[in-house]
Amino acid sequence: MNGIADLGGRHGMGPIRFEENEPIFHAEWERRMFAMFILAFAGGHFNIDQFRYGMEQMAPAEYLTSDYYQHWLHSLEIWCKANGTFAEGEIERRMAQLAKEAA
């Protein structure tokens, strides 16, 4: 698809954003997301080409302003919903429950 992920040759994306002493992961959720991608792939939720296709379907503005592991999150959700692992609204309900427990 002629989507936002196909970035080669575009102008206007700004200077490269370096980070001094960049850590491997920037937050705990990045660690968990990284591992879940590998294990969901190995567990047969999607093949690698489906996974990349899932990332490409992110809304362009969101794609450009989000952290990279959010692209993975987006694709993981698409395929786990498509294969019936998560019902509609199930993730949001669990989020609400976890937020309540933490409060």
């Binding site: 698809m1 002629n2 196909d6 590998i38 190995a42 567990g43 047969g44 489906q50 990349r52």
Partner: protein
Amino acid sequence: MPTMFSVKGLDELVRTGGSCRVAVEVPSGFKPGDNVRAVNINPITHTRLPQYVRGKRGVVVEDRGVFVFPDTNSQLKGEKPQHVYSVVFTAAELWGPGVNPRDTLYIDLWEDYIVPEEQAS
């Protein structure tokens, strides 16, 4: 159906990964030195042919072997195994005037992404 991938298999998974290389005999339509042109396609689904090489002329440098085809595999329409070639494009062919004439771009293109081109770039 998806299953749980157990920690027991993890060392093996990390060590071997999951190559998209396929061990099947598929005829190759190109060889190193062949002049080719990247096809101009605009599928609304997944492809690994970036827009910036579509329609451009390049030269096959190497046959990388046979791999799963992402365009069909991403849609669960089969692996359609085919050769992947390292293809070189000049920066001038891709971007026009103003580039260093020595500069080049190498990209790996599946058999379906290229057609023969009579004239060298």
